[in-house]
């Protein structure tokens, strides 16, 4: 069964794609307004249309103080499923921070497989989810991706995601907040997903 936020995401994504497809950004915002989006994606999606509120505490869209989840390249950029992406361009990377192709093999910027000192292509390395695997292993927590909210960053909709656990301490070391977590969990660290949709 899909998680609640996945259902909301899917609906919001489908709606916003349909709406934006035939309209300019200004007319889209003007005609639809936040209310319609709020019906499909919650108030958090509606808030994404206010770019003036998108400035970050430590990355765009994140205005609270919880630190980033651990990641290969520092900035915790993820894909829809929580796997690491290269922050600059959103290309998939493995846990060693190397660009990877669809099969998970390390490649260079031109898409050629990287080779080792023996001249053979490098084997695959693990590529695992920042919240469910990285936080679990590094901090010993049973962590899950739960709550999320949306901001306009770089003219596109960014989804900010809470990695939640039972821990009373967040990754910063100070007391954790409930945030958008549920089932008794609290925010441990945050990640983000760039949808590429204009805002």
């Amino acid at each position: 069964m899909r998680r609640p936020d996945e259902l909301v995401d899917g609906a919001a994504h489908a709606l916003s794609t349909r709406l934006a497809g035939g309209l300019t950004r200004r007319s889209f915002l003007g005609r639809m307004g936040g209310a319609v989006l709020a019906l499909t994606g919650g108030a958090a999606v509606a808030a994404a249309v206010r770019p003036e509120e998108g400035e970050a505490f430590h990355f765009c869209g994140h205005i609270w103080t919880t630190g980033s989840c651990p990641s290969p390249r520092g900035r915790p950029r993820i894909d829809r499923h929580g796997y690491p992406l290269r922050p600059g361009d959103g290309r998939p990377i493995d846990n060693l921070g190397r660009l990877v192709n669809a099969e998970g093999y390390a490649i260079d910027s031109a898409g050629e497989r990287l080779v080792g000192p023996d001249g053979e292509p490098l084997p695959r390395a693990p590529r695992t989810r920042l919240c469910e695997e990285w936080v679990n292993e590094r901090f010993g927590l049973n962590s899950h991706t739960q709550g999320s909210w949306y901001r306009c960053c770089g003219n596109q909709i960014r989804k900010l995601v809470d990695c939640c656990s039972r821990s009373r301490r967040r990754i910063n070391g100070d007391a954790s907040l409930v945030g958008y977590c549920w089932h008794g969990n609290r925010v441990f660290c945050v990640m983000y997903y760039d949808s590429g949709l204009s805002c």
Partner: protein, 436 residues
């Protein structure tokens, strides 16, 4: 001895000089032989003993200072007096030199000789140990002539030496303390990482090192016995070594040779690679389109080796270069979801996971009968980790950062680890030795 090598005893000053020369020759040669033999024993042992010798030197210094009372192993004998009357002068003088030069056939007034023996074993180099011990023989020879300098009466010369005994003993204590300090510092100095030139895929057993080298896209392997000329095998890769046996992969499969004679010993044809050797056991990875299988072949009966599959994984995953030693085999398994280091006792089949991670890359283990090392890699650094079989504690013995200094395959012998260090940008690789 001072009172023996006199013109009166030898027959003339000329004969005295001949006798002294003979004595010196015997003493130096015998001492050098003792040193070289002890060095050879140390080379065979191949373990780090510097701390043990440092402790012995400290104990000896305490004994010489009178702090502790310790009997010394010694034969309370003197050179056979009758040789002087029964044997020609050149023969008995050389014989006396050999007897005293050996060190352990006569009185040992101080413990220094035994500390020196332990140090020669720790050094593990026959030539260097032989040279050092030759100095002991030269010292013995010097003491037969020097005390008489300016003293026509040998008895007076001996008494003059005896009066200085306390000073000599104090000097001996100081020398032992200095040795203890130098020996204690030696492992720390030796643990400083040492690069061994271009190469990859190290293999090590005692004093023999093997490596692969890439030249213009072609691979060759080198067998590098200590103090001998390296032996090259072109067109080969992934070396493994165990005593006089050397394994490698080439275009046909895996071969095992006697590296001293280059005679073939065994071969496995087909899609096989990454050999590991603990003769008569040979491990390798056999690949097909579906799986990679880790196989151990027992060549106890060379005519009909017995193969056993240890594990298999999907062909898209990484089953690394195995390591065989002390009745165990170790390997790594890396997939897109995790990496693990495994070890299995061959006799019982009992398998254990030495390390696992869903985040890091853990790879390339090497083992001995007492320890295991492996590489841990994350996005920012690589580390060479070590663990004893008897303890779960893991120790980092080497670390690198940046993509220009990644760690790759490893080898382990005694308390010396070897690792390939390479650059992602250029693929150039260097062998590194880490003493721990």
């Amino acid at each position: 001895m001072v009172e023996t090598f006199t013109p009166a005893v030898c027959g003339s000053r000329r004969r005295q000089r001949i006798a002294l020369a003979g004595f010196a020759l015997g003493a130096v040669a015998a001492s050098a032989l003792v040193g070289a033999s002890l060095g050879a024993v140390g080379a065979l042992l191949g373990t780090q003993l510097a701390f043990v010798v440092a402790a012995l030197a400290l104990l000896a210094a305490a004994r010489e200072a009178g702090i502790v009372r310790l009997p010394l192993p010694q034969l309370r004998r003197q050179v056979p007096e009758r040789w002087r009357s029964e044997l020609p002068l050149p023969v008995w003088s050389v014989g006396y030199g050999i007897g005293l030069g050996l060190g352990f056939l006569t009185f040992q007034p101080v413990a220094t000789f035994w500390v020196a023996c332990a140090a020669a074993v720790a050094l593990g180099k026959p030539l260097a140990a032989g040279l050092c011990f030759a100095a002991y023989g030269a010292g013995r020879a010097l003491m037969t002539a020097w005390p008489r300098h300016g003293q026509p009466d040998p008895t007076a010369a001996v008494e003059g030496l005896a009066r200085r005994r306390r000073l000599l003993l104090l000097g001996n204590v100081g020398a032992l303390l200095l040795c203890a300090g130098l020996l204690a510092a030696a492992p720390a100095a030796g643990a400083a990482v040492q690069t061994l030139g271009a190469g990859l895929d190290p293999a090590a057993a005692g004093t023999v090192l093997g490596r692969a080298r890439m030249d213009s896209g072609s691979s060759s392997v080198l067998v590098e016995p200590r103090d001998r000329t390296p032996i090259a095998v072109p067109g080969a890769a992934a070396p493994a070594v165990d005593g006089g046996f050397f394994a490698y992969e080439d275009g046909q499969g895996v071969k095992v040779i006697d590296w001293r004679t280059q005679d073939p010993v065994a071969r496995v044809d087909g899609q096989v690679a990454k050999p590991a050797l603990d003769w008569p056991l040979l491990a390798f990875v056999r690949s097909d389109s579906t799986y990679k299988r880790l196989v151990v072949a027992d060549y106890t009966n060379p005519a009909s080796p017995v193969e056993r599959v240890i594990t298999r994984i999907s062909a898209v995953n990484d089953l690394g270069r195995p390591s065989l030693a002390g009745g165990r085999i170790a390997w790594h398994r890396v997939t897109v979801t995790s990496s693990r280091i495994y070890a299995q006792v061959l006799a019982t089949g009992r398998r254990s996971v030495i390390a696992r991670s869903s985040v890091l890359v853990l790879a390339n283990p090497s083992i001995t009968s007492t320890r295991i090392v492996w590489v841990r890699q994350n996005s920012r650094s690589c580390a060479l980790l070590m663990r004893r079989w008897a303890s779960p504690a893991v120790k980092r013995i080497y670390r690198t950062t940046r993509t220009t200094r990644l760690l790759w395959t490893t080898a382990l012998t005694g308390r010396t680890a070897y690792v390939t260090r390479w650059s992602l940008g250029t693929a150039a690789s260097t062998l590194v030795r880490v003493n721990f």
